[in-house]
Symmetry: C2
Subunit: 650 residues, 2 copies
């Protein structure tokens, strides 16, 4: 025990007092890297996804890139604007779940919750694995170890998060700000070099494009939509802040909304900047993924062998891995909300020593590890399970907000109506756009693995409803009516289990007498004839007034005969109670405990399963180890001995 506590202390740090919860509330400068590493990191690949899809239509279609990118940027702004409103309207967190619950009721809310939970898991998996891919493409010899490296990173994230929100915020702030700073440095250097004509084209600029797809009217639309859908990976993780409002420093809602606004501004400008540079430099996405578009841009601007280029590559890999952290904050918070509402096991609402929802963190990393190992850290297969959850929750959340505005409209003052109409328009546009993206994503990915994500969401949905039903049934089963009062048992038949006449036995009998049961007897199971004979002889010799009942055990069991005896007790009324008193010898150390039969443990477990049976353990403590290591309790032990031996002078 002491060893385990020490390890825990070393990994997780000192426990925090509940009052410190406010002190762990996050200032914006820490909240930004903590909640936003996911959406900000996605600029590292969103441009690439668009260019890659459009390239299938040939060089002419690449000119559509800027329009598609503009649409993604616009959608990102709309979603950010929409979620800022959510932060204000729903300050207790919960994001899509809370909004759906409020506006559509339980079923829809659980769909949103399932989608979010699955998506959080996929965020961890995809971010960590793609970060590892970034590492292994610079050091190919490591690629054989992708699975252990990914799992190792998940474990590292788990420990970091178990250490508490603020600490993890701190350790994650540096790489995130480094990536943001370097990206804007990239834009500055690129602009200066572009104006002065020192900017070389991308390394792949003169590559021939081979049209790989049919061209035509309907196709143009479909390709554009698919490019748009792929670019929407830039939006993943936007909802994290709206779930995490309670983690912010007060005024929580305003700080959260503002942080979300800053994040949106950063993400859009970085995404647009990288896309403009990529198009200007004629960077082509490679089907193998290497070199990536962003690394081509950085190579052109900083110089392909400059130190800054390598630092930027490292920062990119770093922020991709840290993006997983967004989910490490979002998942436990949402799970705790669901647990408090009785949709998930209550243990997920326990705050651990560091005030974080430790169980949620552990569950998240366990599932993520399973997926990484099960899919052999294969990014291509894992990414198919992604995004569906995000856009399901986006659509539900924004449709919910539309409903929210519709309900507030009739009761609003005239001055407010205009603002509400604008808000509703923003949310309506967002809902429509994200719904379209959802359809496109499902259509294009279903057979490639997205069915696993949908299956997971459905399973979660069913499970959460079952858990809710169970808790509700249990509550009503043990809940009180207003007039319920404690009612004493009409009879208490107390049985003291004995095997030998020793000090613990006398103590148990004396205790039983002191509780004044309706009927009191001692019970022994005849397993060894000689031992039982000697027991009854001793029983008489020590003049114990409690009658001794001896029952047979033809198969030398202890538990079953006792259970049978209790079940067969005559005249048991519904308000009668049977109390079984078990004297236990607790050895002073675990190895000494090994030398004692553990029959009491099993017996207690079985007796707890019997109706109207109360189980009482009276421990007698072995003295050895305590004498050596806990001198303070030595006197208590001696005193314990005196309890019973004092009787001999009576």
């Amino acid at each position: 025990m002491a060893g385990a506590e020490t390890v825990k202390r070393l990994l997780i740090g000192r426990a925090l007092r509940t009052e410190q919860l406010d002190a762990t509330a996050l200032p914006k400068r820490i909240a930004l890297p903590l909640f936003c590493s996911d959406p900000i990191s996605s600029v590292a690949y969103a441009t690439e996804e668009i260019v890659l899809v459009l390239a299938a239509g040939g060089a002419a279609y690449l000119t559509l890139s800027k329009w598609v990118a503009a649409a993604v940027a616009a959608l990102l702004l709309i979603v950010v604007a929409s979620y800022r409103q959510t932060c204000r309207e729903y300050p207790n967190g919960g994001g899509a779940f809370a909004v759906s619950l409020d506006n559509f009721g339980e079923r829809t809310a659980l769909v949103a919750a399932s989608a979010l939970l699955v998506d959080y898991v996929m965020t961890v998996v995809v971010s960590v694995v793609s970060g590892v891919v970034a590492i292994t493409s610079t050091a190919p010899s490591l690629s054989r170890h992708a699975v252990p490296i990914s799992v190792g990173l998940v474990v590292l994230l788990t420990v970091t998060n178990l250490r508490g929100l603020q600490q993890s915020g701190r350790s994650f702030a540096a790489p995130t700000y480094l990536f943001i700073g370097l990206t804007f440095l990239l834009f500055a250097v690129g602009t200066v070099k572009g104006i002065t004509g020192q900017l070389p084209d991308a390394s792949t600029a003169h590559q021939q494009l081979h049209r790989t797809a049919e061209v035509g009217g309907g196709f143009t639309l479909l390709l554009t939509l698919r490019a748009f859908a792929s670019g929407c990976t830039a939006l993943t993780g936007v909802e994290a802040i709206s779930n995490g409002v309670p983690s912010f420093r007060p005024p929580r809602s305003r700080n959260a909304a503002n942080t979300l606004g800053v994040m949106g501004g950063l993400a859009v400008s970085m995404f647009v900047g990288i896309t403009v540079l990529a198009l200007h430099l004629h960077a082509h996405a490679q089907p193998t993924g290497t070199p990536s578009v962003i690394s081509q841009v950085a190579g052109s601007v900083f110089g392909a062998h400059a130190l800054l280029f390598y630092v930027y590559q490292a920062a990119t890999a770093g922020i991709l891995i840290l993006a997983a952290n967004t989910a490490f904050n979002g998942f436990p918070a949402l799970a705790s909300v669901l647990a408090r509402a009785n949709y998930l096991p209550r243990q997920l609402d326990n705050r651990g020593g560091k005030l974080v929802f430790s169980n949620g963190i552990v569950v998240l990393s366990a599932v993520a590890t399973l997926l990484i190992v099960g899919f052999h850290a294969n990014l291509d297969r894992l990414i198919q399970l992604y995004i569906i959850g995000v856009f399901t929750s986006f659509t539900l959340s924004q449709a919910g907000m539309v409903r929210h505005w519709n309900r507030s409209l009739p009761v609003a003052t005239r001055a407010h109506r205009r603002r509400i109409s604008v808000s509703r328009a923003i949310n309506g546009t967002g809902a429509a756009a994200t719904a379209v993206v959802l359809v496109v994503v499902v259509y294009s990915k279903l057979t490639h693995g997205a069915w696993i994500a949908i299956l997971g969401m459905s399973a979660l949905f069913v499970l959460m409803r079952a858990i809710h039903r169970y808790y509700r049934a249990q509550e009503s089963e043990i809940g009180l009516q207003a007039t319920d009062r404690p009612v004493r048992p009409s009879r208490n038949h107390t049985i003291v289990l004995v095997s030998r006449v020793q000090l613990p036995t006398l103590r148990a009998v004396a205790y039983a007498e002191s509780t004044r049961p309706t009927r009191l007897e001692a019970l022994t199971v005849r397993i060894d004839d000689r031992a039982t004979v000697s027991l009854s002889r001793e029983w008489e010799r020590h003049e114990i007034s409690v009658p001794l009942v001896i029952i047979d055990s033809p198969y030398r069991e202890l538990t079953r005969p006792v259970l049978d005896y209790i079940r067969a007790l005559p005249d048991r009324g519904p308000r009668d109670v049977v109390t079984v008193i078990i004297p236990e010898y607790v050895a002073a150390s675990w190895w000494e405990q090994l030398l004692h039969r553990q029959s009491a443990l099993r017996l207690k477990a079985r007796l707890l399963g019997e109706a109207n049976v109360v189980v009482t353990s009276i421990a007698w403590h072995g003295t050895r180890r305590r004498r050596a290591t806990e001198p303070a309790s030595h006197h208590a032990i001696r005193a314990q001995r005196r309890v019973t031996t004092a009787g001999s002078s009576r």
Copy 2:
């Protein structure tokens, strides 16, 4: 639970009643194969060991073989004669341990016991591995899997033995009698063919012998002694019957002694017969072990490709593996004797469902498996650990018998004195001979691995003394003086732990009131402020007269604040008791139980470690599953509900 019971039933069979213990007593025809497969199987390699050692001195030395074999046969007869006397004098079993304990006291007896326990383990290991070597030398492709095959056989032996003595006796009788019968058939055919001149020499008869060792006076003696020591492998397992006397049908002593006599006669005649045939056919032992001397003899007599030859080979492999079974009977019986005398954990004296000492069987096979895996089933290295234990116990046992006779001599009648002198001479000769063998064995094997066996024996010796000390200390700690009587606690401060006001809470409070404690209070730990406020409100609303104490838990723990509260209770006298009543919700199925926090389990474990604290569990049973699968107890559950709701109409 039900599943585990079914698997156990399938593997082990129906449980037996204690009264059936006499019915499982063994008739001699079953006891012989059961206890004697080890010594009888050793004729398969004893001759070979002698010839192999003497061959190192060149062809001239081989002529010594018959004298060495005669000496081994004589020693075998002496040891058998000696142990027959032990069976008669010590009818309660225990063999070398019982004899040493009776004649030399505890220390020597524990040396004998350690030697026997180690030797039983080695019997299992060496017999199984050599049986597997016999199999793999006929099917070399299997030799890569020697470890899993050996472990598989140990598991098979374990299950067979857990099924009970008589059943295992039956399944082992056939191969043993087959081997015995075929060996005597071998002698008959060999004699007839020898007389009629149809017997070809052994396949290795015309091999050139290369002297590999120095020749000289002292060397002759040493080589002869080493050959003799090696031949003494024939004696392993002779003591098993003397340990197993209580397993025989009455009259146990006589039946055991007679069975031992028959075994001795069989073993000596088979050993001598095979040695005579081997020398007559000029069979030479091969350093690689293949072909073995016994297979050369069988090849010459039956014909190298005859069906009988293959059957005989199979029977040889079979009896080698079954030899391990001797230890599966001896080890648990001895461990149980030692456990009853408080030298080993008491669990080793539990008779399982089949009346066998199940724990002993499991411990034996676990240690044997560890050795097989640890030594990669390498017979050469394992056999070095063998025999030391046997001869240690032989020497002690027979020396003990000499002492036994010395003590009976003065009190014997004149008529008996002569018989006692003869007996003492037999035992004395045996003790001297086995002591010499022990010295030779230790000398020649110590650096080759025998130190491991000696280390194991020493560790067991120390462990058994420590266990004995512990049990004795514990007995005296809790043992009673004649005048000890039950003494009631002077005060009983009862604490009901509560977290919400529900039916189980009311029931626990009512039960606590019914035990009429000196002081009664309800205790709750403030982890969630709102929950605690709602608890106190409900407490008042339901007019519960017991005072509610609220304690803080800054680190959101449950266990520690409760322990601290109890430890800090004022005015606790040495005869006071604190009773902690814990209402528990027992869900109807394991998956439902997962949905409840398991804090009660941990709390109970910690409370049991506190001095003068009594822990009472009051279970409330969830209804769902019971309603479905246990209709009979449905009424009890409904009744349970009525216990408390009936109070609402009061």
